[in-house]
Symmetry: C2
Subunit: 349 residues, 2 copies
């Protein structure tokens, strides 16, 4: 297309090969397994759900300096951007299939950076069984921006929703909570009392989330409501409660914490708030009838996904909006200074 700015999209102004060379070298190989991607040599991609299934779509963007750190390795930026979207698919019961990538590159981007970014995508494509099927590459005068649209599939009519849970359902969460938020805090200097190995471990959890792609689709027919923990456990449980019109009562002592997170919180109890409200966990929080506990334990075992029961849902107080209460070991509710990030970027997410 014509360019609104002379400094616009002309690659000769930068240090990179032409767009066609970049696509052929780094992106077309990521599309070679998916017939409907046409090797990225046509204008669109074609995809159909399996018989009896529907497609589930999700898009989310990562902006350098906002969602990732400027010195984060490019392969991890790529993988985080992809995994954030795969996490949403998984929490909705969808098996991932494909994704489109809009990559907006600052002029100073090097070919080495792109090569590393593409290697990260290749690694996660192999790990999660997804393929690049389309997208767009632009030069931007702004920060690196990665917009990904992921497509997965669920049996028709069976997508897991935020609403649908029942009073009396038990609440479960995968993995451990708070690592990413504590990891980012440590990366930004709030690491007092933490040994380097713990800092590195928490930072890795921030940079490379583990979407629960193996478990998610197995929760169809088991979970009554589910979503991924991206805004923080308290806020995302709040979304489930609001959509299901129920209260959540969480046993704070049962919320799964990693050894590194435990050490961080032991050193500074105020970090518990960061852990439970900070977000970026990309774990699944879900509700299921108590009778499903055995099934869930078996699924956790079969998919090698840690799952912890953390509380119960109950009918809301008359006249009061649905609420999330986290109780300590004495039964007293924790008071949080924040219940999660309600900023641009998560509300439709």
């Amino acid at each position: 297309m014509v360019q609104a700015s002379d400094a616009g999209d002309d690659p000769s102004a930068g240090t990179l090969p032409s767009e066609f060379a970049l696509i052929a070298r780094y992106f077309a190989p990521l599309a070679r397994r998916f017939p409907g991607a046409y090797g990225l040599r046509d204008d669109v991609a074609v995809i159909a759900p399996s018989p009896g299934a529907e497609l589930v779509v999700k898009s989310d963007a990562v902006i350098c300096g906002v969602h990732v750190l400027p010195d984060d390795p490019p392969d991890l930026v790529a993988r985080k951007a992809l995994r954030m979207n795969l996490s949403d698919l998984a929490a909705k019961g969808a098996a991932p299939r494909a994704y489109l990538l809009d990559l907006m590159l600052p002029r100073a981007t090097t070919e080495e950076w792109i090569a590393s970014f593409a290697r990260g995508l290749a690694q996660d494509q192999a790990e999660f069984g997804v393929d690049l099927i389309g997208g767009d590459t632009d030069a931007t005068p702004g920060p690196l921006t990665v917009a990904i649209m992921a497509l997965g599939e669920v049996p028709a009519g069976r997508v897991l929703r935020r609403g649908g849970a029942c009073a009396g359902d038990a609440l479960f969460v995968t993995g451990t909570i708070g690592d990413a938020a504590l990891g980012l805090a440590a990366l930004r200097g709030a690491a007092s009392g933490l040994d380097p190995a713990s800092v590195a471990w928490l930072a890795d959890r921030y940079r490379l989330p583990q979407p629960r792609v193996a478990l998610g689709p197995r929760l169809i027919g088991v979970a009554t409501a589910a979503l991924d923990v991206s805004d923080g456990l308290v806020a995302d449980l709040g979304h489930l409660c609001e959509a299901s019109n129920l209260d959540a009562i969480v046993d704070g002592g049962r919320i799964p914490l990693s050894p590194a997170a435990r050490a961080a919180i032991a050193n500074d109890p105020a970090r518990l708030t960061i852990a439970l409200t900070g977000g970026d966990d990309y774990e699944i929080v879900f509700a299921a009838p108590p009778a499903a506990c055995g099934t869930i334990a078996a699924l956790a075992e079969a998919t090698r996904t840690p799952v912890t029961e953390i509380g119960r849902l109950a009918a809301p107080q008359p006249g009061a909006p649905p609420a999330v209460t986290v109780r300590d070991s004495s039964g007293a509710p924790y008071a949080f200074s924040s219940t999660g990030w309600t900023h641009f970027g998560r509300g439709r997410g």
Copy 2:
């Protein structure tokens, strides 16, 4: 999610209402007709093609200062971003159904800007029969960025490709060529000899393309190859020739030009190169057997889409790569200083 920057996504740092308020006020109404969008109150959207159809997906981003001008009205920015994607669907024979929107807003964005942007989307949703079904809103330290993923559908196996044309096929193009590129040139000051009405008309063609959504799906079974003209007629015909392994011989005198474009070129013949290689036309160029001319004329009439036959495809010269030749009235080939923009941003799309 947790924010890598203190100045990151916190709306209280700006002048806008919370993300939830913005979504409820401006974006959820755009999703109300599509059941699988769940009113933008869940984490994903669900979509299935009609029986016997496949989904066609396309994503493309618009960056302020690169693809649109900083003072372009927000409703037109929204409509152009959507229409660029709908144009690709149309050229591939797909009927548009839905889209996802990743909207990255500079901190200075006002609520009035968002209201106008959403009005533009509403207007085009009504015009083209598409619905917003998901996406994401972020604050960015960079320029306004709009990433759209559009979903349409085609009868299974019938998507129109770049390849597939045959030697002897006639070449057709919709609408008029070159208006947008000349309009942008005029907006940037190269308007010598043009009356204000022509400048305004050409600028409008730059700001608000007309995707050929009515005609595109009717070309299935008629066109042997097709794509939209976004990089410039000569470059995009080159893509068709390369994929089909054919030469194109275009009668330059038959390329459809608007009265304003004719006036601009009459005033400065060098503008012909801008018109034929500038891009942003968002018309469809396609090939079809000469015997289909009558059918095509009837489809043009039925869909009120101007269609012009501009040339022929031929077997390529032995040993030479496929080539596009535009001949003047004497039969001599035009020499272009550029055959279109090969910049970041168009190669996969």
